[in-house]
C-alpha cells in the first residue's frame, strides 16, 4: 500500500461571512493528511480565526478523495465533523457540526518522486454555522 503523508503549514488570509455580515479575518492552521494517493484521504484540521464579535476555533477530522489532474494539479473534496468553539471574552460555547472543504493544490515539479512542494487553495464552508472562509497555503508533500 502506497502511503502518502502531506504536511502543510499555512498562514491564511480569509474572508468569512457569518450571519450575513462580511468580515476579513486572519485564521491560521495546519493540516496533516495521511492516505493513499488514489483512494480515500484523511485530514485533521485545526483552525482558528477571529471575527470582530467573537473568536472561532475549529477542530475536525475529514474524509475525502483526491482527484489528480495531470502531474501538477489536484482537487480534494472533503466532508468532516468539527468541534466548533466560539469565544467572547471569558464566555465560550461549543458544539459539533459538519464542514465541507474543497482543496485545490498545485505541485511544483521536483526530481524527487517522494517530495513535492506546492501551493494550495482551500475553501471551507458550512452555511448552517455561518462559516465560509478561503485559505491560501504553501506546503510540502512526501
Amino acid at each position: 500500500m502506497n502511503i502518502i503523508l502531506l504536511v502543510a503549514f499555512n498562514l491564511f488570509v480569509s474572508s468569512s461571512v457569518p450571519q450575513g455580515a462580511a468580515a476579513i479575518d486572519t485564521p491560521s492552521g495546519f493540516s496533516v493528511m495521511i492516505g493513499d494517493k488514489y483512494k480515500v484521504n484523511y485530514d485533521l484540521v485545526a483552525s482558528y480565526y477571529t471575527r470582530s464579535d467573537y473568536e472561532v476555533r475549529l477542530y475536525g477530522i475529514f474524509l475525502g478523495k483526491e482527484l489528480l489532474l495531470g502531474q501538477k494539479f489536484s482537487i480534494l473534496p472533503e466532508i468532516g465533523i468539527t468541534k466548533v468553539t466560539r469565544t467572547r471574552e471569558d464566555a465560550s460555547e461549543s458544539g459539533f457540526s459538519p464542514l465541507f472543504i474543497v482543496r485545490f493544490a498545485y505541485l511544483f515539479s521536483t526530481e524527487s518522486s517522494t517530495f513535492q512542494i506546492g501551493f494550495s487553495l482551500r475553501e471551507a464552508f458550512n452555511e448552517k454555522i455561518g462559516i465560509d472562509f478561503l485559505d491560501f497555503g504553501i506546503g510540502f508533500r512526501m
Binding site: 470582530s52 464579535d53 466532508i79 467572547r88 471569558d90 464566555a91 465560550s92 460555547e93 461549543s94 459539533f96
Partner: protein, 207 residues
C-alpha cells in the same frame, strides 16, 4: 461509481442536518425589521395585552436606528455587528421640573448570545440646572446568560437564551429576566418586583 453516488448522498444528508448548535450559531435573536410585531400577554395585578412593533428605521451617518413601539412608548435601538444598543434618554425631576441628562447608549444585547457571558456599563452624568449641578448614576448589568428551552402557551421553544438584566438608576435597582428565541426575539419577560410576567402570544416577522 456506486461509491461516489453513495458518498454524495451521505454528504448531502450530513450537510442538510441542522443541529442545536448550528441553530444557535446562525439565528437572529433580535430581529429588527420594519413591521415586525410581537403580541404579549401581560400577567400581573391586571392582565392585559401589549404589542411591540418595529415602527420605523432612521438612517443617520450610516447607522440604522430602529424605532420600536412598546405599548405606545417608543424605544430606540441601534444594531451593530455583535451588539444591539438601546438609546435611552435619562432625566430626573427636580423641584417639580424635568432635568435632562442626555442620551446614553446602553449595551442591550450582545449577539450572538454566548452562554456564560456577562456585561456591565455604568454612566456617571451631570447636568446644570438653575446654576446647580445635579448628578445621576445609571448602571446596566446583564449576567446569567444560559441557553435553555421553554414552553409557552403549549408551544415548545428550543435554543432559547435566558438572561438576567439589572438596571440601577439613582440607587433604585430593577431586575428583569428575559428569554430570547432564535429568529423570534423576546418571548418572555419577568419583573419579580412588580410580579409581572410577559408571555408571547403571537408574532409576525417580515422577511
Amino acid at each position: 461509481m456506486k461509491k461516489l453516488v453513495l458518498t454524495s448522498l451521505i454528504l448531502v444528508l450530513v450537510l442538510g442536518c441542522k443541529n442545536s448548535f448550528s441553530t444557535r450559531m446562525t439565528s437572529d435573536y433580535f430581529p429588527l425589521k420594519r413591521g415586525n410585531e410581537w403580541v404579549f400577554d401581560v400577567k400581573g395585578d391586571n392582565n392585559y395585552q401589549i404589542t411591540i412593533e418595529v415602527k420605523d428605521i432612521e438612517v443617520t451617518q450610516g447607522d440604522s436606528l430602529f424605532l420600536v413601539d412598546v405599548g405606545g412608548e417608543i424605544y430606540q435601538f441601534e444594531r451593530k455587528l455583535g451588539m444591539v444598543k438601546r438609546f435611552r434618554r435619562l432625566f430626573t425631576t427636580y423641584e417639580g421640573e424635568r432635568v435632562d441628562f442626555g442620551i446614553v447608549y446602553e449595551p442591550y444585547l450582545l449577539l450572538p448570545p454566548i452562554e456564560g457571558e456577562n456585561w456591565e456599563r455604568e454612566f456617571n452624568l451631570s447636568s446644570v440646572h438653575r446654576e446647580q449641578t445635579l448628578e445621576k448614576v445609571f448602571l446596566i448589568s446583564v449576567d446569567s446568560v444560559i441557553h435553555t428551552s421553554i414552553v409557552l402557551n403549549s408551544e415548545n421553544y428550543e435554543n432559547v437564551y435566558h438572561l438576567k438584566r439589572t438596571v440601577v438608576e439613582d440607587g433604585d435597582s430593577t431586575v428583569e429576566y428575559e428569554w430570547f428565541a432564535p429568529n423570534i426575539g423576546l418571548i418572555k419577560k419577568e419583573v419579580p418586583a412588580d410580579s409581572v410576567v410577559w408571555e408571547l402570544l403571537s408574532f409576525e416577522l417580515n422577511e
